[in-house]
Amino acid sequence: MIPETPLAVSIQGLTKDYLLSMRGFRVRAVDGLTLAVPDGKVFGLLGPNGSGKSTTIKVVLGLAEATSGSTAIFGVPSGEVRSRVDVGYLPENPNFHRFLTGRELVTFYARICGVTRARMRDRVDEVIEWVGLKDAATRRLSTYSKGMLQRIGLAQAVVHDPRLLILDEPTAGVDPVGSAEIGELILRLKAQGKTIVLSSHLLAQVEDLCDRVAILNRGRLVLEGGVDDLVTEKGRDALIVKGLTGPVADDLRAWLAARGVELAAIEKPRTTLDRIFREHVGARVDAREKEAGR
């Protein structure tokens, strides 16, 4: 069900075909997609490769034309340039002008987006520091790592302080530590009340960051809803207890049975591999950085 809040992005019956040859062969990338992204929420766009996520984003941003259906940003049709005034975009595998330094790149996009001359310097410095690239700001982008490119990409996307951010695979190809850092930046944007459309393969990260998700497959919407609603198993409850040994467990099972409730399973709480990796590798990176700082 579409929530009754102002819509940042609306997609109505979007179909997008790509012409494969001059003889008229076409491939359907998006098939009758209808979606609504509420203002102020983090919306996850999930799906395997070729599911139509990036194509949908391109149509929303006016970079590709819909075969049928319509898309709009804050109520303005995507075909109009003004729909992109309040939008920041980080493309998949961003490949910026590699002959520029990080600061030159962010300044270029700030000028393009009409950041005033009076605010320019402070704003550029502010966003570069925000993404943690202050020390690398004067280095050419050709020397940046994948994670640094994603972060400078995020800096150019937010430099004009847009209301809506569209992030296409912001953590693709980035190691778990870098990925977690980008996740932290997205959480901070969420705390600022930005609307974020996030396309990602990292389900754990999407679960942590998003309020709502839509899952696409072969260009079609297969599932949409609030993250909490989707991940919560209906009709089952979990009790986290300590020291539940054999006889105690049997007593509990009998006690529950007497009240007509079945104990389905007793499980150890689990963490995620992603979290363990980040805790161990992240701690080492922190220690190394501290040591280097000394």
Binding site: V81, V87, L90, P91, N95, F96, F99
Partner: protein
């Protein structure tokens, strides 16, 4: 939210500045500039010609040839490369996802390439003028009787030549952007653009055919060819200058207006083609 996004010369300038920076940081620009300047300077080393005006004519001819040849190569390759670099590296995705009009993108790219071509034309013409001045000064001392009427080289006309060549290069860059707007690869765009440039250089043949054609169909075909492709011979004032003949300002103005008209038409066409392109 703004009711509309108007065309912004400021954004065109920002894109043009980036294009210039990208072009001058590429090896191709430096290589072609060095090659052209080296060729012009190398004319000094050729000594098998007679002293006097024939040697200066040779240097002028040689210099004009170098400026025209390398300038045309630079116009086609740079325009195509800088345009496709944005599409192939997908930097255009980020840029056009901002409130940037397609016309601003195309005009920004063109203005950047035109500025690079202006720099190329100014430097190579400067080298040519320096070489001619040095050689003419040396010849005046060796054979002063040939210079009783003053200097033989018309330096003002060389500046006019440079201006017209730059305009021609700009027309070449604009037509390359039209081709690049619908082409799918850089190579295709470069090859097709060079073919069109060749047609434009030989276009005077279409003019002649049109005038001589007997049948109506041939006449219409020749007329179409003559109208669609600019006649690059209109910019060819080098022979007159090298022969020491003055350039009529009216001819100069007419050629500039002719070039300006085709430039405007090609830019409108390039914008129209690029508007329809999916990124």
């Amino acid at each position: 939210m703004k009711s509309t996004v108007r065309f912004s010369p400021g954004r065109v300038r920002v894109i043009a500045e980036l294009t210039v920076l990208e072009a001058v940081r590429q090896r191709l620009f430096g290589a072609l500039l060095a090659l052209a300047a080296g060729m012009i300077a190398g004319a000094l080393l050729l000594r098998e010609f007679n002293f006097g005006s024939s040697e200066l004519k040779f240097i002028t001819d040689f210099g004009f040839g170098a400026v025209t040849l390398f300038g045309t190569i630079l116009a086609v390759v740079t325009a195509a490369q800088l345009f496709f670099a944005e599409l192939e590296s997908r930097t255009a995705l980020t840029l056009l996802a901002k409130p940037v009009l397609r016309s601003e993108f195309v005009l920004g790219k063109f203005a950047g390439v035109a500025a690079v071509l202006a720099l190329f034309t100014a430097v190579t013409t400067g080298v040519l003028v320096a070489v001619l001045w040095m050689r003419e000064s040396a010849l005046r001392e060796i054979a002063p009787e040939a210079f009783e009427q003053g200097r033989l080289v018309q330096y003002g006309s060389i500046a006019a030549f440079a201006l017209l060549q730059w305009l021609k290069f700009a027309v070449v860059a604009a037509l390359t952007l039209v081709v690049a707007g619908f082409a799918h690869t850089n190579l295709y765009s470069v090859v097709l653009s060079f073919l069109v440039v060749l047609i434009c250089h030989l276009q005077y043949l279409a003019h002649e055919s049109w005038q001589k054609a007997a049948s109506g169909v041939a006449r219409i075909a020749a007329l179409l060819l003559a109208a669609v492709f600019p006649n690059f011979q209109m910019f060819n004032v080098g022979d007159r200058i090298a022969a020491g003949q003055p350039i009529d300002p009216a001819v100069l103005g007419g050629s500039a207006a002719y070039g300006g008209l085709y430039l405007a038409v090609f830019l409108v066409l390039a914008i129209h083609v690029f508007r329809r392109r999916e990124i």
